[in-house]
Each structure stands twice: as structure tokens, then as C-alpha cells.
């Protein structure tokens, strides 16, 4: 047996005692957290601590005694730390998951206490932060009194509440006093020494000073001090060498400050310390202490410091570079949540468009018109850039403003990134007053961030408009009322424009002959849009483009009198096209900006009556401008017009293609047809027509009055909502107007076809005979009671069907094993329905098999069985 060797005395200090001391040191922070944040904070701490202890006990298969489960107490410390760095309002499962991660993944998986590389609590926090960001930044102000303190805080300078801790933040991090009490105890007990925390806090202080920030604020706000005392000093994951501890602390401080200042990461302390944890073994190897009786060479010392400094600098640079080089289109950060752009836009069906050096996201409506446009804007906030996703509707009003990422202080500037504040932007447009206190109310405590957001949104809107809608300066129109008349779809359109204060004050349509129903939206909306935009160029109402364009044209004409000036779409006298072709539709193409542009030009009576874009690869927005402005202009001018500025390529392509089409170079695509008219083969009255649509049968009632279709009503349909509605809303008035088949509505082709077929069927009189072919049971049995059966879900369903006077008068269930709540109920519903319909009825949903069996049994009874 080997002799025991010394020392035979041991310091009474044990790991258990150290852990107990750390818990004692954490007590002030726990008490402060519970005082400031109340029961939710206590709940988080209890959950995190219990989860940590139980996780360790389970994984280590500890003996099931209180002492065995509690172990050396290190799990309890980790659990407390996990809880203390969580916001008090987090969901119950966050502390639980955090502690399980900390113990299982960041501690035991590395080999348990002493072997883990990363601070378990911070490792868990990093995972939670990245996975459940919103849960991690949901801060809350303590008590109610915080409002008094925030104005001071919003100036990012030191204030006493930071010392007491009655500010928003993680449970254990807010009170400087509590943390310092814990630090004093740990120092007194010798569990930490000055080097690490002083290096941490000191370097942060110095950097803040150098960067012109309030250094006292830098070290008292957020989790820095708590981390410097309880996290960076974690024995296991920091160097054991004295110089190494100092370097470790300084590295933590530098990284924290760099992350806070130069990156948009929501958290500086966690990532700083985890990075230094990773560097810890290297730092330790480079800072082996001076050995007694050995002179340490200056070179060794310098090399150690140089290498570790370089490592810290590289890490800091990496953080900044990685943060800056985040791709834009990936899930982004908003209010602490990583959301795909699609979620912010409300649809995943969006296009990413890069144009004029700007990337934006475009959502089209069913017709392919731009319905929503969103783009990313950036504005300097208090701590760094705030990035926004601004979504505009078709009228270029703000749909929504979302914050993608920011580095504002939780509980302060961050308040301005919350939905309550952002919601104020909805409905504003570039004409709104973007100033705090006007259209937008600032957030107390986040004045600077509020202001930044407001000016960011305003700037972005202006920028967007300049980029995509280059417009003439809204010339100061001379006040007055101006009349103008133009030819519209159905005839002359007459309106007056009231100019007041140099702006368009009102547009009053005096007279028009456009198709009622179709053109109504245009007359309802376009004048208002023109007034709002103070410009005759506004977006046309889809489905009423011609009327819309006519209104704009008329307003322009009126305003031309008001300004005596030209505008972008001046209709000048020019040489018209030499129409070298007869009536018909001619297709021609030209090379546009993005590729081939194909047009169909309709010539009627030797004039261009319509130009339709068949296909194009042009940039949306820009091209649509050209289409919307140029095409009506060409039709009006019957000749080439000025190109639309900002879309010259597309404009030129259109002009070229039109010229080609009318030059006779291309053969006629469609010979002009007489407008098709339905032959009404039925008398006045309501006639039903059916056709197979996209989703199933489509049934229409067509009202014929005086040999004309006067109304069409959809009786039933299984079409896709929205898409089909389009077809109904547009097609039906068009059919009535045309009294004949019209073009299908693009995007709803099947439904359109079904509507046309059904109308045709209804007016042709063919529908009459088909009616009720399947809708009643054929009863060719004498009166009596007939038994029939069918196979149900659970077995045979047997019925007695009573026939009286050739009609089913009663049905009784003889035998059924159907599930009472489902099949049984279905039978109860089916019996009266069948008696009333005298024919098959729709299956009861959820009980299809029983319904089928019922149907089968009734038929069985009526056909094959003898009367009873």
C-alpha cells in the first residue's frame, strides 16, 4: 500500500461551499429582481433553478435523496444564473428550456463540472436568444414609477435608478447595488479576484470615454456589471493565470463595447464572454506566470499580450463584418423576432426586384397589378442603424412599418420599435406631416429613436418616389376652376378641376357616358386620388383603366389651362401613324429594357382603337408607368408621343412595336369580328344554366327581359374565392353589356369559361330538360313499407321506407351500428331531409359513410324489395 503523502491538512473550502457562496452572493440580485419585477421574476427563477437541478440529477442518475439530487450545488447556481439573465416576463418554458440546455448541452455533454468550455448559463442564453428572440427581449419596466426616470435615461447618461435597479432589464441585471454586494462577498470569500471584473468594467469604461459616451452609463446599464461579476469570473471557463484573467476581462469589455456599438446584435455581453471562453485556453497558455527564479523574457510577455490582443481584435472585427454582411433577403429581425419577409407582407407570394440599385419586394393582386410594395430603409438610431421594412399599398400609402433590426436599448429606444408606435404610420403617405406630435406621437423615453424612425420613414418614402415616380414639380397652379372635356370609353367626359392655394382642391365629374357598373370605381376613386396626390398622374382603378385614364387626361387638360405649362405626358400635335393596314388586330414586338415586348394593336375604322400588352419582361412599376401613360396617349394621339421619363426603354419599345404593327409588316392576327351576341332562345323569365367550373359545378340564374339578358345571378359555385369573385364581378356586367360572350378574366379563366358556358346554356333553352334528372328517387313501387339496407361504417344499416301515394312519407331505422354521436346523428338529420326532397340529399359532413349507407338503403328499399 502506498504511503499517504502530505499535505495532511486541507483547507475546509470545498466545491459545495463555493457554490453555496455564489448562491449567497446572488441573493441581493435575486431579492432586487423579485422586488422590482414581482411574482413573474420569482417564477422564472424557481423554474430555472428547479429545472437545472432536476436535469443534472436525472442525467447523472443521482441517488434520490435531497443531498443526492442537490449534488454539489453547481446545478442550482447555473439554474439561478440562467433565470437571472432572463427577462421577467418571458414564457414559463423559456427558463425551463434554458436550464436544460445549460446543464445537458453546455455542461454535462462536455464532461460535467470543470470540463465545459463555455459558460453554461450564457451558452443557453445565446441559444434562446437566437431561437426565441422575442421571448428574450420582452422587457418590462419595474413598478409604475419608471416613467419618471426614463427621460434621463433616454439621454444615455448615468442616473441613480440604474444603481438601485428600478429600470427595465433582465431579472438579476438591473440593480448595480445588488450586483456590487454580491461582488463584495465573493471578493471577501476569495472566490473571485479583481483582475477579471476590473479588466472587464475598466476596458468598457475607457472605450466609452474614448467614444464620447457616458462611461458610467456604459458600465451600469444592461448586463455588463452582472456579467463582469458572475459570468466572466466563472472559474471553469476563464483562465487560471493571473495575467490571463486580466486579459480575459479586458477582452470581454472590448468585445462587449464593439458589439454594442458596431453591430446590430441584440446582445453584447453574451457573445463577448462566449467568445472569450473560446479563447481562454489560448490565453492561459500564453500567460503562464513567471516562475520563481526564472526571469521571464520581455519577448515572451510581449508575444503573449500581442497574440491575445490580436485574437480579441480579430474576433471583434469578425463580429462587425459578419453582422454587416448579413444577406438582406434572409429572415430578419424585428421586435426581437426573426420573421421571413413573407410574414411581414402577409403572403409568401412576392417577387424580389432589384431596380435602380434598390431592392424591393412586390406583391401582386390576382390581376398581376402591384398591390403591395415593400422595401428596406435604414436610418441611424441612437446606438446604431435601425432597419425598417416599409410596405406601401397600391396607392403608395403606408400599409405597415416593421423594424427589421435595431440596437436601441431595451426599455428605452427599443420602445419606439414596438408595434404600438409603428402602427401610427399606417395610412400615412408622403403628403403626411412626418413630425413628432403631428401625425406621429413619440414614445416617452425613446424620443431620439422615435425621431429617427419618423425621419427614416419619411426619407424612405421620398427616396422611393424619386426613384420610381420621377415627376415634374407640382407646378403652382393658378387658383380657379377649370373645365375640360375628353373622349372616354363611352363618349365625352366632362369635368371641372378646382385649384385652390396652388393645389388641386377638387375634381368634379360633370358628365360621362361610360358603362355604369364598370366605370363606377374609376369615378368614385380617381378624382379623390388626384386631389390627394395633387397630380393628375395617379394609379388607375383596375378594371376601369380606360375611364380612369380619361379622368386623368381630362384633369391634365384642365390643369394645362391652370399652369399654361406642359407636363410629362403632353399630348402634342404630331404626325400621326400612317395606318397601312385594314381593321383587325396586329401583333408586333420590339426589344424593351428587359427583353421582348409584344403588343396587340387593334385597328378599327382606320384608327388605333386599342393597344394591349401581350407579354413583356419589363421592370414592374417602371414599365407599368409607361404602359399606363403611354398607351392611352398613343391612342389619343394616333401617333408617336413623348417617352415617359424614367421608362424610356419601355416607352421606346412600345412606340416601335405599335409602329411596326400598323405599318403592315405583320399580318392581321385577328380579323375584326362582329361582336358576338347570344341568341336568346328562351322567353322572358329566369333561366337556370350550369357548367363545370374550376372547383365543381357552377349554377347561374339568367334573367331575360324583353329578349335581352338583364341580370345574371350566381346560384351556387365551388370556385376559389377571390379569384372567382373577380370573374363574377367583372364578367357578369360585361356579359350584360355585351349581350354576348366576352373575354375571359385573366387569372380566373376556368371560372370565366364556366360562367360563359352556363349563360349560354341558360339562354339556349337547353337547360330545361336536364333539370331534376337525378334529384328525386324513382319510385316505381306501390304504396307500402319497404325494407332496404346499405353498408355503413360499422355494419349494415337497415331501413323501413314507407311509400304513400307514390311519395316517401316516412323512413324508420330498423338496425344500425353506427357511432351514435356521429353516424346516429347523421341518420336523424337525413330522414327528414330525404322525406322532404324525395330524392338523395347531401351527405352529412363527418359522417359520409353513414350517409352513403342511408342513401344505398333507401334505393335498395325502393327498387328491389317486396312491399311488406
Amino acid at each position: 500500500m502506498q504511503n499517504k503523502t502530505g499535505p495532511f491538512l486541507r483547507n475546509p473550502l470545498t466545491i459545495d461551499r463555493i457554490m453555496a457562496d455564489v448562491r449567497i452572493a446572488l441573493t441581493p440580485a435575486i431579492v432586487a429582481g423579485v422586488i422590482f419585477f414581482g411574482w413573474p421574476a420569482l417564477k422564472v427563477l424557481l423554474l430555472s433553478t428547479l429545472s437545472a437541478i432536476l436535469t443534472e440529477a436525472l442525467l447523472l442518475r443521482a441517488p434520490l435523496t435531497p443531498k443526492g439530487i442537490f449534488g454539489d450545488g453547481s446545478a442550482a447556481v447555473t439554474g439561478l444564473l440562467v433565470g437571472l439573465i432572463l427577462p421577467p416576463t418571458t414564457a414559463w418554458w423559456v427558463p425551463v428550456l434554458g436550464s436544460v440546455l445549460a446543464i445537458a448541452l453546455f455542461k454535462l455533454a462536455f464532461g460535467g463540472l470543470g470540463h465545459n468550455i463555455f459558460n453554461p448559463a450564457l451558452g443557453a442564453r445565446a441559444v434562446l436568444l437566437l431561437a426565441f428572440t422575442s421571448q428574450m427581449v420582452r422587457f418590462r419596466a419595474p413598478f409604475e414609477a419608471v416613467t419618471a426616470a426614463t427621460p434621463l435615461l433616454s439621454t444615455r447618461s448615468f442616473s441613480w435608478p440604474l444603481v438601485w435597479g428600478n429600470v427595465g432589464g433582465s431579472i438579476g441585471e438591473t440593480s448595480v447595488i445588488a450586483v456590487l454586494l454580491g461582488a463584495a462577498y465573493l471578493l471577501y470569500r476569495g472566490h473571485i479576484n479583481w483582475r477579471n471584473p476590473v479588466g472587464y468594467v475598466g476596458s468598457a469604461f475607457v472605450l466609452a470615454l474614448l467614444w464620447g459616451q457616458d462611461p458610467w452609463y456604459a458600465i451600469t446599464a444592461g448586463g455588463l456589471l452582472f456579467a463582469a461579476v458572475f459570468m466572466s469570473t466563472d472559474m471553469v471557463t476563464s483562465p487560471v493565470t493571473p495575467l490571463g484573467q486580466l486579459i480575459f476581462g479586458i477582452g470581454c469589455g472590448v468585445l462587449t463595447m464593439v458589439i454594442r456599438r458596431f453591430t446590430s446584435l441584440p446582445e453584447g455581453v453574451t457573445f463577448a464572454i462566449l467568445t472569450m471562453n473560446a479563447l481562454s485556453p489560448a490565453i492561459e497558455a500564453l500567460t503562464i506566470p513567471r516562475i520563481f527564479g526564472l526571469r521571464i523574457s520581455q519577448e515572451t510577455l510581449k508575444r503573449g499580450i500581442a497574440v491575445t490582443t490580436a485574437a480579441v481584435v480579430v474576433c471583434a472585427a469578425l463580429f462587425v463584418v459578419l453582422d454587416r454582411s448579413k444577406p438582406d433577403a434572409v429572415p430578419v429581425f424585428s421586435l426581437g423576432e426573426y420573421l421571413p419577409i413573407g410574414e411581414l407582407l402577409g403572403t409568401d407570394d412576392y417577387e424580389v426586384v432589384d431596380e435602380n440599385g434598390v431592392r424591393y419586394f412586390l406583391v401582386r393582386d390576382a390581376e398581376g397589378n402591384p398591390a403591395q410594395t415593400a422595401f428596406v430603409a435604414e436610418q441611424g438610431g441612437f446606438n446604431g442603424p435601425i432597419r425598417l421594412l416599409i410596405s406601401l399599398d397600391a396607392e403608395h400609402r403606408i400599409n405597415s412599418v416593421s423594424v427589421l433590426d435595431h440596437s436601441e436599448d431595451p426599455g428605452l429606444g427599443e420602445l419606439a420599435t414596438r408595434p404600438e408606435f409603428l402602427a401610427q404610420f399606417a395610412g400615412l403617405d408622403k403628403g403626411s406631416e412626418f413630425a413628432l406630435g403631428k401625425d406621429i406621437q413619440g414614445v416617452t423615453g425613446a424620443t431620439i429613436s422615435s425621431r429617427a424612425l419618423v425621419s427614416g420613414v419619411q426619407r424612405a418614402l421620398e427616396q422611393f418616389d424619386r426613384t420610381f415616380f420621377p415627376q415634374e414639380e407640382a407646378g403652382a397652379y393658378a387658383d380657379g376652376t377649370y373645365h375640360a372635356q375628353v373622349d372616354s370609353f363611352g363618349g365625352p367626359l366632362e369635368l371641372e378641376v378646382v385649384v385652390s392655394g396652388g393645389k388641386i382642391a377638387a375634381v368634379n365629374v360633370l358628365k360621362h357616358s361610360d358603362t355604369p357598373g364598370i366605370s363606377d370605381p374609376a369615378y368614385a376613386n380617381v378624382p379623390q386620388r388626384i386631389v390627394t396626390a395633387n397630380s393628375p398622374q395617379v394609379e388607375a382603378v383596375s378594371g376601369a383603366t380606360v375611364s380612369s385614364t380619361s379622368i386623368m387626361k381630362a384633369v391634365q387638360k384642365a390643369l394645362d389651362q391652370a399652369s399654361g405649362d406642359t407636363s410629362a405626358v403632353t399630348v402634342e400635335e404630331r404626325t400621326g401613324y400612317a395606318i397601312a393596314v385594314g381593321d383587325g388586330v396586329y401583333r408586333a414586338s420590339a426589344e424593351g429594357f428587359g427583353g421582348e415586348l409584344v403588343l396587340d394593336v387593334t385597328v378599327e375604322g382606320g384608327k388605333i382603337s386599342a393597344i394591349e400588352v401581350v407579354s413583356n419582361s419589363e421592370t414592374p412599376f417602371i414599365a407599368s408607368q409607361a404602359f399606363d401613360k403611354l398607351i392611352p396617349a398613343i391612342i389619343e394621339a394616333q401617333g408617336p408621343v413623348d417617352v415617359v421619363s424614367g421608362a424610356s426603354y419601355t416607352s421606346k419599345a412600345i412606340l416601335e412595336a405599335v409602329e411596326k404593327a400598323v405599318s403592315g409588316a405583320e399580318p392581321a392576327l385577328v380579323e375584326p369580328e362582329e361582336q358576338q351576341v347570344y341568341e336568346i332562345a328562351v322567353e322572358d323569365g329566369v333561366h337556370r344554366g350550369k357548367a363545370e367550373g374550376f372547383g365543381g359545378e357552377l349554377v347561374l340564374d339568367v334573367t331575360v327581359e324583353g329578349g335581352r339578358i338583364s341580370a345574371i345571378e350566381v346560384v351556387s359555385n365551388s370556385e376559389t374565392p377571390f379569384i372567382a369573385n373577380q370573374a363574377f364581378n367583372k364578367l357578369i356586367p360585361a356579359i350584360i353589356e355585351a349581350q354576348g360572350p366576352v373575354d375571359v378574366v385573366s387569372g380566373a379563366t376556368f371560372t370565366s369559361r364556366a360562367v360563359l358556358a352556363a349563360v349560354e346554356q341558360a339562354v339556349s333553352g337547353e337547360a330545361a330538360g336536364t333539370e331534376e334528372s337525378e334529384d328525386v328517387f324513382v319510385i316505381d313501387v306501390p304504396d307500402g313499407v319497404y325494407r332496404g339496407s346499405g353498408q355503413g361504417r360499422n355494419g349494415v344499416v337497415t331501413l323501413d321506407v314507407t311509400v304513400e301515394g307514390g311519395r316517401i312519407t316516412a323512413i324508420a331505422v330498423v338496425e344500425s351500428q353506427e357511432t351514435p354521436d356521429i353516424g346516429g346523428k347523421a341518420l336523424e338529420q337525413l330522414i327528414p331531409a330525404v322525406v322532404e326532397a324525395q330524392g338523395p340529399v347531401d351527405a352529412v359532413s363527418g359522417a359520409t359513410l353513414t350517409s352513403k349507407a342511408f342513401d344505398e338503403a333507401v334505393r335498395d328499399a325502393l327498387t328491389t324489395k317486396e312491399g311488406q
Binding site: 502530505g6 495532511f8 476569495g190 487560471v240 527564479g293
Partner: protein, 419 residues
Amino acid sequence: MPIMVLPAPDIAVIPLQQHIGAPCEPIVAVGDRVKMGQMIGQASQFICASVHASVSGQVIAIEPRSLANGNKVPCVVIKNDGRDEMALGTKHTDLKKLSASDIRQAVKDAGIVGMGGAGFPTHVKLTPPKPVDTILINGAECEPYLTCDHRLMVERAPEMVQGLLAIMKAVGAEKGIIGIEANKPDAIAEVQKVIAEYSNLSVASLQVRYPQGAEKQLIKAILGREVPSGGLPADVGCVVSNVHTAIAVYEALMKGKSSYERVVTVSGGAVVDPRNVLVRVGTPIEDLFEFCGGFLGQPEVVICGGPMTGWEIKDLSGPVVKNMSGVLALTREEAAFDENHPCIRCGRCVDSCPMGLTPNLLGEYSDKGMYSEAEQLHLKDCIECGLCSYVCPAKRALVTWIKKGKAGLAAEKAKGKVS
């Protein structure tokens, strides 16, 4: 605890090796009658110290006997006749008349070794390879329990100072400094009284800390000189001697008395009546405990030396030897601990290591047989003070592993595995 005299044993077992270096040759035969103080084993080599009879009587055996540590070494076994007949050497009266070589020879003849624990032959120490300007007397006695040096300074300060002067003369040093920890004010007072008349002697009151009495730390504390790694005190111009050794030098020169007895601290929580006892070399250790009232129950461990650097006594019948400063019987409460939890890297060992080493790594490497890695971290500079193990909250056997590592490294070097 005043020094009390332990009666001589009936049978004295005197090991032929009680020092660092080669064993000495017996120069008596079984059946020979020997006197107290008579040389019975002669130094065969330079680094070797002769041994002397501690009782008068008859040699009854020369054979390997079990020592306190359980090892068997050749011993001369003498049956005490109880007459205490003395065989004295030359008694000098005036130090001034002696030459350096006279002193060295007298010390060698008296078989004096370092009595603080190491047991290094003193005559070798008095032949330093480099010029020495200062002699330090190590009165720090920093280990807990041990008080023999303290008592000797209080009771026999004049003899110690004479011994110091002799040593200074032997090595040609001009200055002598007695380093005493500040928690022994009575000793400081006594020594100061004695040295008042000597201008080249002084007392250094030292901070109370462990291991203040470690040679290199003592030199650093008193003179501010740092012995280079792998070097000797002579490299920084000094020699360090133990209190008891100085007194032994005095006795050899002035009383003609060879080194056959010493003061041993008998202490520990398991000892009924702890004492400092003057005891003959070769006395069974159990006699000491018996003299001090025996044990209070079963001691957890009985150790030789201080509780920090001492070693376990396996055989209580083993003899007291010249470098045995104390025997301690510790209770379960004092010495019980469960060992070896995982290292939590608290850094206490690094902070406390008086040599500036990284004991956590040295221990780990040594335990895992990674001797060359440990050597790169200056394994050989470890003075085995045991402080790292003491402070370790995980109760890791750091110094035990380091000792094992040193042995392992030496073995590998011997085999030529490590270049």
C-alpha cells in the same frame, strides 16, 4: 511547550542512513560495547554523514530494520546498559582559534545533518561552490503544530548564535541573519538579547505565511534575492541553516558532542498531552506518544514532519532519526477528506504557488504520465510545499501527483526516453 527529556530507550535502533546521500559503513560489530556519542557508522563518501550511538551498551544486531516509513534499511541495534557512558570528542573553547576547515571537520565527525527535515549533510553545505556573504538561520518554522525550533530559540538562543557564528566562519560569510516569523515574539526577543553584542548579526521578523520557511522563499523574504531555477542558495551568496542544526554545530564544537539526540515535537489532535521532547536517535516512535499520554482514540493518521510536507508513519516502532522534527497524530476531524473531485479551474493553486507554477496542469500531466509536458511547465521547480493541495476546493492530490511526476520524469531520463 517547554522541552522535556525523554528517557533513553532500552534498545536503540540506529539506521546507518539518516540523511540524503550514500549510507555509511558500520564500524562496529555485533557484541561490541559502545559508548554514547561513539561513531558506529562512518561516512564512506562526501555526501554522507556518519552515525553515532545514542546510548551506551552492547551492539546486539546489525541488520535491516523497518523504519517509520515502512522501508527496511541496515541498522545498528544497541542494548542500552543504562549507564550513559559518554564518548566525547574535542571540546573547543574559543571559536576564534578555529579555522574553517577545523569547523567543517568537526561537523563532519559529529555526523550533523540538516535537522529541519531534509537531512542534507551539513559539512557539505559548509563547503559552498560559490562565495557566500550571508548565513541565514531558518527560524520561520512555518508549518502548523511544529514548535521544536521555536522552543529551542527561546531556551537555547545563545547556543544557536554560537553555532551561527561557527557556520559563518566555516564559509567565510560576513553577515548572519536569523529569520523568525512574527508570531514568535518570545523567540525574537530572546535572540535579539543574545545578538545585541554582534554588529554583523541581525534578526529578521518575517510575515507569517506558509511556506515562509522554504529555503528559497526565506532567502527572498530576508534578502530579496531569488535563487535561480535549478540553482542553490550559494548562487545568490547565502547558505541557510536550521535552528537545531546551528545548535548541533555549537555542541559539536564546544561540547565535543556528536549528533545523537534531538528535540522532537509530539503533537496532533489525537495526542493526549502534546510536548516537545529531547529524544535519543533510535528511540521507537511509539515511546514518544506514550511519553505524551498516548492517543485519544484511534488517530486517523500518524505523520512524520509537519502536516504539509510530512509523510505517513506506517510503523510506530520505527526509530527516531536525526532529521525528524516532529511526529503528529491527527484525528479524523483534522485530517480526513475525500479526494479528487474534478478541477473547477478556480486558479487557487496558481495563485498560491510560491514558485509561480501552474499546479493544476503539473498535477494533471504528472498523473497522466505526460512527464515531458510537465517538465516544460517546470515540474522540477516544485518545492513540494503542498500548498496547492491544501487550497484546492476539489481536494485534488496535486502534490502527490507532482511527486510521482518527478519520480517518473527521473526514471524516463534514466532510460533515455526523454532527451
